[in-house]
Amino acid sequence: MENAASQSYLNSHTSPKWTTGFMSWFMSTDHKRIGIMYAFAMFSFFFAAVLLGFLMKLQKMYPASSGWEIIPVEMYGSFFTLHAIIMIFLFIVPGAPAVLGNFFLPLQIGAKDVAFPRVNLLSFWLYLLGAIMAVTGVLLGGADTGWTFTPPYSINTKTISIFGIAFDSISWMLTAAFILGWGTILTGINFIVTIHRMRTKGMGYFKMPLFTWSIYATSWLQVLATPVVGITLLMIVIERIVPVGFFDPAKGGDPVLFQHLFWIYSHPAVYIMILPSMGLVSEIIPTNSQKPIFGYKSIAIASCSIAGVGYLIWAHHMFTTGMSDFAAILFSFLTFFVAIPTAIKVFNWTATLYKGSIALTPAMLFALAFIFNFSIGGLTGMFLGSLSTDIHLHDTDFIVAHFHYTMFGGAAFGLIGGVFHYFSKMSGKMYSIKWAKIGWGFMFIGFNSLYFPMLLLGYYGMPRRYHTYPDIPIFNQLQMISTVGSWILVTGVIIVLWVWLHGLFRGKQTTEQNPWNSSTLEWQTATPPTLFNFEEELEITRDPYDYEAFRGEVKAGTSIGADHV
């Protein structure tokens, strides 16, 4: 046992004895293996959904009058539904916590594993089950309600029958989302308990790395918000099967009530998506600037305030639903209070660069792109939080662009940066840094040329979820630029995924423990980490980002730094 524990987690495992190869991963309760499995599943889904997005942009290349049709009109609704279901429920909600949280949360706090390793594996299985159900649901039945499932459309719409057999893909998909929610709640509880109970000696709350802080805030949101949407989606399933009227006005229900319940989850969910990536950026920037993060405490507290205030502002998605004017004003007011901690974070990251010693590694490039894209995402959020401008911009391409600026340009760029940051630690291999930077360039330029025109399109009144659009010169030009942007972006995504796969299978072996010379605890483990992470129990004495002290430790030989910095 002693022997197995000091081997790399890739070669030794705690799975049942009879398991080998694939099964030794699939049955593994090791947080590191689970993280890697999530990574493979999630990025596969991500790539599939990117292709759907690519086709949708291609569809929008020419206006209706041109007769251009890439996606038949009957299928367009299913396209954007499947794109969103995959991107949101299968990719960005589990996102950074599932991949890097699983892998690095125990490493960052000096623990052997998460608090409930078997529950952790159960979460992954629930994720896979839900994912398979959701994808088959749309593929077989062509559900076209959008990811928002707005009733009464989602209650009354009949789904396409396949081979003559009626298939209620909407109920099927809602059940899938319910199961996925379960997985999320379990992961959330798991991480909260891990952070509360399993920090190593000396690691007080304000000695935790910021990625751990962001996972902590996220986990609370997952635990508190997900049950609401779970029950709400089940109510739609019930309403589709038996004639009760929760949300269908024809049966005395209230469709706006659904939207409230839906957004009570789905607004906090956007912070579930973004906070972990903010945490990753808070790791990448100090490492690549070789100096403490600016205002550690305020970033940690801002994470928690974003989570707290984020829970109370859901109805800003509903200013045009005809809810009471007082409620609209109140929710607009509260919305602006989430802008402040968000702004603080952006200022702190930027200020961290000041007088640093900056290395533009691929991870750093993605982190800097995160700040730029996320700033646009956050600032465009003010147009939507302000009541009168929201009335004009709501349900247009402006919203779609704003959302992608935060979720793709923000959350996904942060996650991709995080994977580049931690790649060698996880795999024991190194990718091509040159190609990673080329991929970044394509993604950054492509992303902005795709989505910036969409902000303008929305301002000019282009409604979202349109299969075609009227032949208006300004629409035509902007749609064309946006479509060309999507080609550049997809090229970038393909390069990045290729760099990872190539690195994994053909990359140079490395055992260098701390290639970026980072001061946080996870880099003190072996590369790749051993089965139980740390050979002996550690004691933490300094702040996580105290680089001066860290450099002293490296000199004294008590900490491991990079080979050549």
Binding site: G77, D144, T150, P152, Y153, N156, G245, P249, A250, G252, G253, K291, P292, F294, G295, S298, T320, T321, G322, D325, S332, A339, I340, F347, N348, T350, L353, Y354, K355, G356, S357, I358, L360, I371, F372, S375, L379, T380, M382, F383, G385, S386, L387, S388, T389, I391, H392, D395, Y459, G461, P463, R465, Y466, P470, D471, I472, P473, I474, D546, E548
Partner: protein, 315 residues
Amino acid sequence: MNVNYNPASVFNQDVDFSFYLIFMISILCLVGITGFMVFSIIKYNRKNNPKPSNLEGHTGLEIVWTIIPTILVMFIFYFGVQGFLKMRNVPEDAMEIKVEAGMWWWKFTYPNGLEQSTAQGMTVPADTPIYLPLHSVDVVHSFYVPAFRVKMDVVPKPAGVKDNYTWFEASQIGSFDLFCAEYCGVNHAQMISKVHVLTKPDYQAWLDQQTADHEKLLAKNPGKALTISKGCIACHSTDGTKLIGPSFKGLFGKTETVVTDGVDREITVDEAYLKRSIMEPAKDIVKGYQPLMPPLPLTAEEVAAIIEHIKELSE
């Protein structure tokens, strides 16, 4: 000509002011942040600056960049509310045009009872507040005129609950796009109409003309008049083209396969069938079409007139 977004109503001033205020603040922030990033990357590059400082924060600076954004967002909030309250408070003397939405059509009912639908668009006098009660017969739609900065969801309500409303006052003469902005099914992107703004005298002349035309047609061919005013022709063509529903041309006497309670059966289109299809549209669905038609409040005479007109189109 397409005047889709140029300012054209009394709301533009408030909305656009808020928009440009936020826009200016955003540009300043973005340029500041990006500029500082680029400056730092160059100035403090590892080659230029191999020895980093150990700066951990600056409380004074952090207080400044907490307080300034707080003040700015309160301004933004205030102007947003100003514009919004104007949109929500309908002037006493507003003229009422009832808006009805369904999959995938709009219907507009004028104060004198004249009804028009998607193809004709909504016609309004300039410089006159127009009050719009918004009624949906099926799912959630959204009434959106970008040029007026007006949007409100058309939400189906349970019996006895008041419908949503909005209002506007057009300040420009012209035709403006009217979009459905809430996804409502396959033909969501075809649920586009126009708002035509005329001068007050032109509007009056137009209304008189339309009403007279409609009455004339009603006297001469009541069925045809009704298929226009009730919006039938939005989904049923009169020239054989396949739209959302089967075409009226050649319909009478035709043999069709319909689905009744999930079972296919063949029928010949006769008066009894047409009557049932108008009064209970969900009963028999012609194969290849969706059950989308809403039941309309029609009198027995009106139904008979429409059937007569369908017969004519089949001769």
